[in-house]
């Protein structure tokens, strides 16, 4: 699936009737199999952009072109599971065509096998996030959207989940969009990085990473991170520390 985006502007009106520009100008294209990563400060309009791309918000200037029948897998910032359905039911509900073998493999990778029959209320946040990931992958998406899937997890768990995401993304040809404010995640997962300005968001830089995900060594990663930090700080924006 090829995704072409040209958002010229997006405004919100708050309860007091004041207008706020949230997005000032975002234009990019992603091909099938590519992982695009958006890095930007908190509250810069990233989630708003994702809602527009997923077709949840039609009130904006510009256009988004993607196949109408593209299957979307969305990992929201909060897990957004149905609390009254078990882990397995949550996944099966959105992916009725997924066969048992595939689901078992997915639960195995994400280490959810023991929790199939638990309700989301019985899970820790880390587990709930993994269920949300399993749900998004179970639909075999053409377009995968990850909205800060690793936020507020401890470093070790976040690193493991990041590797699992990389493994799942490499396993199939899916156009992936990841939003994060963690530069490390961005460099380890992305094929192309987009740096966003503070609100109203616009793309300030686009950085392709040519080395395949699996072959990036620590030195290269550190160099790219340094480059990003320099660009961000050059724009007098402080990166959010996690």
């Amino acid at each position: 699936m090829r995704l072409e985006v040209e958002i010229a502007g997006k405004r919100f009106e708050n309860a007091a009737g004041e207008r706020h520009d949230v997005i000032a100008g975002i234009a990019f294209a992603l091909d099938a199999g590519e992982v695009g990563v958006f890095v930007g400060p908190s509250g810069c309009g990233k989630s708003t952009m994702l809602r527009i791309l997923a077709g949840l918000d039609h009130d904006f200037q510009g256009r988004v072109s993607r196949p109408v029948d593209a299957r979307i897998g969305f990992v929201f910032q909060e897990p957004r599971l149905l609390p009254w359905r078990s882990v397995e039911e949550n996944v099966r509900l959105v992916a009725p065509l997924a066969d048992d073998a595939k689901l078992s493999a997915l639960f195995e990778i994400l280490e959810l096998k023991a929790h199939r029959n638990h309700f989301p209320g019985e899970l820790s946040l880390g587990l709930a996030r993994r269920v949300a990931l399993a749900r998004a992958f179970a639909v075999e998406p053409d377009f995968l959207i990850l909205d800060e899937p690793l936020a507020s997890l401890d470093a070790a768990l976040a690193a493991r989940l990041r590797d699992e995401i990389a493994m799942l993304v490499d396993g199939r040809s899916v156009t992936t969009l990841l939003v994060t404010h963690d530069v490390d995640d961005a460099v380890r997962l992305g094929d192309r990085l987009f740096l966003l300005s503070p609100r109203p968001a616009r793309i300030v830089a686009e950085l392709p990473i040519r080395v395949p995900r699996g072959e990036r060594r620590d030195a290269e990663i550190a160099a790219i991170k340094l480059d990003i930090m320099r660009r961000i700080n050059g724009d007098s924006v402080k990166p959010d520390a996690r």
Partner: protein
């Protein structure tokens, strides 16, 4: 066990009160039980209970399904809410007696008039409760269902209905008690049978044991419905809540 104790306390209070007030005003439990058995032997008790129960069931189903649909619409669509709100306030504040008398005048002393009148009395409270439920629906789960392209009936069944279940249970519980109070008035005023009619007869004859026999039998039936239907439904609908009280 606590339920049995509380029932025993009720019987004891009744008995003591009947000793103080005298048999004519408040007969003791055995006298009421005797009246109950006599009515049961003749078959009148079961016939009248059955007739009233059918009226309750029809009016309740009608009011709940219509009320739930209207309430859901009003909770979701702002225009429907603004259009329906004045009607709702009117209906909520219309005395049951007025609705019943008007229904009998306009539609005659018929079964349909009685059931419609009872349903109209219950309708607005079901609308109000379900409207509150529809307003409280979680928008983030709605978005999730949209993004993952859930089919409409699936979304309704797995995303919306479980969120409305507590409101449906609340409306059912308050509705059942309301309907069964109003059905007696409707029967008293314009039906030739049913618990309400029998209570009217007992009132004219000052037959207090008969009056109590019918009202307590019906209260027992309602208690059974609550225990066998409403409570298990609630328990099932909320089994996902961690340690629900």
């Amino acid at each position: 066990m606590p339920r049995l104790l509380s029932f025993a306390a009720f019987l004891a209070t009744w008995w003591i009160a009947s000793l103080l007030a005298g048999d004519a005003k408040l007969p003791p439990p055995p006298a009421v039980l005797a009246a109950m058995i006599a009515e049961a032997r003749s078959g009148a008790l079961f016939f009248n209970l059955g007739v009233t129960l059918v009226r309750v069931a029809l009016a309740f189903t009608l009011a709940m399904s219509l009320g739930a649909a209207i309430g859901y619409l009003m909770g979701r669509v702002r225009l429907a809410d603004r259009l329906g709100d004045p009607w709702l306030i009117l209906l909520l504040n219309l005395p049951a007696l007025v609705v019943i008398v008007l229904a009998y005048i306009w539609a005659g002393l018929t079964e349909a008039a009685a059931i419609a009148a009872i349903a109209i009395n219950k309708l607005p409270t079901a609308v109000v409760t379900l409207r509150e439920g529809a307003r409280a629906l979680d928008a983030s789960l709605d978005e999730m269902a949209t993004v993952f392209a859930l089919a409409p009936w699936k979304k309704f069944r797995h995303v919306i209905l479980p969120q409305l279940a507590p409101y449906i249970a609340a409306a059912a519980r308050s509705g059942l008690s309301l309907v069964w109070k109003i059905v007696l008035v409707a029967e008293l005023l314009g039906r030739p049978n049913g618990v309400g009619f029998e209570i009217g007869v007992a009132f004219q004859l000052f037959d207090v044991p008969l009056l109590l026999a019918y009202s307590l039998s019906f209260a027992a039936v309602v208690l059974v419905i609550e225990t066998v239907l409403v409570q298990p439904f609630e328990a099932r609908a909320s089994r996902w809540r961690p340690r629900a009280a």
